[in-house]
Subunit: 204 residues, 2 copies
């Protein structure tokens, strides 16, 4: 054994790299490395090459900045989408999540993050300039801000709202309230308070 | 969007490969892929190359079959180990786990799996021949079978015991019982039963 707790430097290096991934600690990384050692060589090679291809060949849509195989993504290119609606989201995961609901037919704009002074993310790091330009050029009727109801999300929403003030476009945000199936008793007071303030009329 | 739920075939391929790893589903795989896309290209390249190196360059000790950087591993090469004791384990993880306890100074023999007819693993797939040869050649005093107390572990232990019957060597197994800190009340009846049968004298 060398001085480290690992029996081989190759293992140590692999564990080091794997454990840089979010949610994977050294112990899980070791388990994954030992798993790969037991599997045919082809599996490791394919995994590695798909990771490199992913990182080096993936493009981003030049219009909405969504991950795409081509210069313009399928959603922007589609003629079946409602071009009067634009939903602003933090990243690609959110587009996939909203698409999965089947409830939204408009277009998207992927910011690539949210404003977070704590993590050193400022407005200039995000696709906000291009959002403003896009709103100025296209005739959107409504911009839906689809950001998480966190401090960073609210800050970003506030910043975007201010930036878009000069355009004659309605700005809305996705509803905050008690999750469907959630228990009123266990809902935190801020959410509960907001859900009372933004109560929904059942009359119409 | 293409027909799949992923915005890009490169993402889809990466998710496909990542989710082949144990304990990582499609959703986690997508999260990992999107994470890598946000990180510098170097991280993906290093991760990929460490995986390929791991799989193609890792050697196994020709004596104990432990993962090793050289032909003979550090434990087998060391002159600080007790050469009268040999602990037989399922795989490399178990060597690391036992080494971490700091309670064992003997040598190891890594089987590379356990006998499992259900998974198609037969004795000939394991390093049992080489164990028998090693026991025949070296003057071990005791062989400690360090396998999990499962049906497969017990089957393997039984098979090895039979194979080693002709050699004048003591064969033991790691103790089974209530885990330290475990609660007697919640211990399953088989473990509790065994812990009564193999009770330990406190007299000496």
């Amino acid at each position: 054994m060398n001085n480290s707790q690992y029996p081989s430097q190759l293992i140590e290096q692999a564990v080091e790299e794997i454990s840089k991934l979010p949610g994977i600690g050294k112990k899980s990384a070791l388990r994954l490395a030992l798993h790969l050692l037991k599997r045919p060589e082809g599996q490791s090679v394919q995994l590695a090459s798909s990771l490199i291809k992913l990182r080096t060949e993936t493009k981003f849509c030049t219009t909405c900045h969504m991950i795409s195989d081509e210069d313009i993504c399928g959603i922007c290119k589609s003629n079946k989408r409602d071009e009067s609606l634009l939903c602003v989201v933090e990243d690609a995961k959110d587009v996939l999540a909203i698409e999965n609901t089947g409830q939204y037919q408009g277009l998207y704009h992927v910011l690539g993050g949210i404003i977070s002074p704590m993590s050193g993310v400022s407005p200039s790091d995000l696709q906000i300039e291009s959002l403003v330009k896009r709103v100025g050029e296209k005739g959107f009727v409504e911009i839906i801000i689809g950001l998480s109801p966190t401090m960073e999300g609210d800050t970003t929403a506030f910043y975007i709202t201010k930036k878009l003030k000069e355009y004659p476009v309605k700005i809305s945000t996705i509803a905050r309230g008690i999750p469907i199936g959630g228990d009123l008793e266990y809902t935190d007071e801020i959410t509960l308070g907001r859900s009372i303030v933004s109560r929904i009329s059942l009359d119409d």
